[in-house]
């Protein structure tokens, strides 16, 4: 069907009073569960599933999708304010977002997260609409060797996330890899590093580690001074809360980066929004003219990952709607919902159900606008949270961490793990180990190992499968990323030698 006619039909569907209401409900609910750590879109959609049987499917789909992308908007809030990631895709936002908040720029960070989410989210929908069928082929071209190369590229970002010592960053990353390999091995059913505990058979949920190391570790570090500063600086006045024009100019590239990287990674059924956000953060830092500001409150460090995880939504819907292939927990449950409503998701879905597809696309345009309108005023509300005295803030962070972990896993054992990783995060701070590489290793490690072993199983042990065209390009990029800083260092050294000779 002609895209224009399709979209026109879609807006007719999406703008009906009922569907508009569904869209509003979806994005508001999405924002709320995004703000709350622990409770994510898959669990929420699953809980609402029985309710949707009473609804008309198009409206129900619009609502569920609203929860999906709405949660990505809300996810940054607690990352920025409390250093507690609201969603796994907002973990990387903690790095610079929380630092901005400590410097009194929480409003700018929150506002930028909303703006960037809007731009990239809209880009994701446009791309979904225009190029879905041809790009679906890209998601099929990616298999184990390609994923392996992508993960290697991701892991080389440790160079960028390292603080003063690359050695320590690498060690932190290796510990992340170790935690990632806990649990039952998919390929052989061997239990690895489970210490005989049933609870560890499924591995350790990465969000528990992230909350423990980032949030609880931070609280423990905050406890150190006997008389901590009473509260964080919060500028007065609505105007000073939002990002400035300068901020917007600084983030120009981040918008593009987040949009494109997020969408492309979204297309891949085996990657996901957490990886998308890490990748775009890494790219942002790699090309930045002032990389030294990253980790200390660079606004691009918020804009890029937050944009990226929103563009990812549009990307992830491509394989789901054009091929019937779910790539993540959330898309898997959307697929299940479609089947339960009596649809047959698969390659012919768009052709069979144009009003549902175009209605969904149109509703996502509307939903993104709604989310921007909803989230910008919320910035002012949330920024007031920082006016709390620090002792109240610390106990709030601990409470949110506990509830976040418990609603995600509902087991006390996981709370015990939270405490362990909290102490671990504190120790890392004391010993000057950077925490971001740990989380990076944890996110990518499991996928990397699987992809490597899958590749070698596919090729019968022949490693040359890792040098197919796409992986070669990705591995080449990784090499460049690794060698780049070394070359810079060498050059600096050379200049120094020449200078001293002169």
């Amino acid at each position: 069907m002609d895209i224009f006619a399709g979209l026109l039909q879609g807006f007719q569907v999406a703008l009906s009073a009922n569907n508009l209401l569904m869209c509003v409900i979806g994005v508001v609910l999405g924002t709320v569960i995004g703000v709350l750590p622990g409770l994510g879109p898959p669990a929420t959609i699953a809980m609402l599933l029985p309710l949707t049987f009473k609804l008309e499917p198009t409206g129900a789909m619009i609502m569920l999708a609203g929860i999906y992308y709405g949660a990505k908007y809300g996810g940054s809030t607690t990352s920025i304010l409390l250093n507690v990631p609201g969603e796994s895709s907002s973990v990387v936002t903690c790095i610079d977002g929380y630092q901005m908040a400590r410097k009194g720029r929480a409003g700018a960070a929150l506002g930028m997260a909303a703006i960037s989410s809007f731009i990239a989210g809209t880009f994701g929908v446009v791309a979904l609409m225009l190029v879905a069928p041809p790009l679906a082929r890209l998601s099929l071209a990616f298999s184990a060797p390609e994923y392996f190369a992508l993960m290697v590229l991701g892991l080389t970002m440790v160079v960028l996330l390292a603080g003063e010592s690359l050695l320590k960053a690498l060690l932190a990353m290796l510990v992340g890899l170790w935690i990632a390999s806990m649990g039952t091995d998919l390929f052989t059913a061997t239990s690895r590093f489970t210490f005989g505990r049933v609870e560890l058979l499924g591995g350790i949920d990465f969000i528990i580690v992230a909350i423990g190391v980032f949030a609880v570790g931070e609280v423990l570090a905050n406890m150190e001074p006997t008389d901590p500063p009473e509260m964080l600086p919060v500028p007065k006045g609505w105007r000073n809360l939002l990002p400035t024009w300068d901020d917007m100019k600084r983030c120009r590239f981040a918008f593009v980066n987040g949009s494109v990287v997020g969408f492309l990674i979204g297309l891949l059924p085996g990657a996901g929004s957490t990886i998308a956000s890490f990748m775009s953060y890494g790219i942002e830092k790699a090309v930045s003219r002032h990389p030294e500001e990253f980790g200390h409150g660079a606004i691009e460090g918020v804009a890029a990952p937050e944009g990226s995880n929103n563009a990812e939504t549009g990307g992830a819907l491509v394989p789901l709607l054009t091929l019937g292939i779910p790539g993540s927990g959330t898309t898997a449950i959307l697929l299940a919902a479609l089947i339960l409503w009596g649809f047959k998701p698969g390659p012919l879905f768009i052709q069979d159900q144009p009003q549902l597809f175009w209605g969904l696309v149109a509703s996502m345009y509307i939903g993104n606008v709604l989310l921007l309108i909803l989230n910008l005023p919320l910035v002012a509300v949330f920024a007031q949270l920082l006016k709390m005295p620090s002792y109240a803030m610390n106990s709030l962070i601990l409470g949110v961490s506990i509830v976040g972990v418990y609603t995600a896993a509902s087991s006390l054992f996981q709370l015990g793990l939270l405490a362990v990783f909290g102490l671990f995060g504190y120790a890392m701070r004391k010993l000057d180990f950077p925490t971001a590489p740990l989380v990076l290793g944890l996110v990518l490690g499991d996928l990397m190992e699987k992809a490597l072993r899958q590749s070698l199983m596919m090729s019968g042990g022949d490693p040359s499968i890792l040098l197919r065209p796409i992986p070669s390009v990705l591995l080449g990029l990784a090499l460049l990323l690794l060698v780049g800083p070394l070359f810079k260092k060498f050059n600096a050294f050379r200049v120094k030698v020449i200078d001293s000779e002169a």
Partner: protein, 154 residues
């Protein structure tokens, strides 16, 4: 005591080297290759070995580093003690949950942080503790119909 024995790098390197050795020894048992392809020990063996190598490098650099004299960061054990006290309170509140539930445990934790750690008056600490617990209850259990940890008593 030698200078390096007081350095965090030295000890963290030692601990990580031990962890790496443990990983390698476990991975060794699991098998490097299987008939179907790389075995469960394949990947851990590699990153475990790398961990041993890098952590020994960290130890070596700590030993070889010239004694930095007064510029060295000295660990203020008093501060660490405060952080550990808070951690212990956090652990205790989690351990209390199977008995007393989230509300009571969290109220006690908040009270500890405000009254003991931050040394605020009881008229600040008590309302905050009770109010904080009620806030979480209202938001999650009443507002969102989610379950917070419940104990035998509450």
């Amino acid at each position: 005591m030698k200078g390096y024995a007081r350095s965090g790098d030295f000890w963290s390197g030692m601990v990580l080297a031990a962890l790496g050795a443990y990983i390698v020894s476990e991975a060794w048992r699991w098998g490097y290759m299987t008939e179907e392809g790389p075995g469960p020990g394949f990947f851990p063996l590699w990153y475990g070995s790398l961990m041993v190598l890098l952590s020994l490098a960290l130890v070596a650099s700590a030993v070889l580093k010239r004694p930095a004299g007064t510029a060295r960061l000295v660990v203020r054990w008093n501060d660490v003690g405060r952080a550990l006290a808070c951690w212990a309170a956090f652990v205790a509140s989690i351990a209390l949950m199977p008995l007393a539930g989230f509300m009571v445990s969290f109220a006690l934790l908040t009270w500890f942080i405000v009254a003991v750690m931050a040394r605020r008056a009881q008229r600040v600490a008590l309302p905050l503790a009770v109010g904080g617990a009620l806030f979480f209850y209202a938001l999650f259990e009443l507002g969102l119909d989610l379950q917070l940890p419940h104990g035998m008593l509450f």
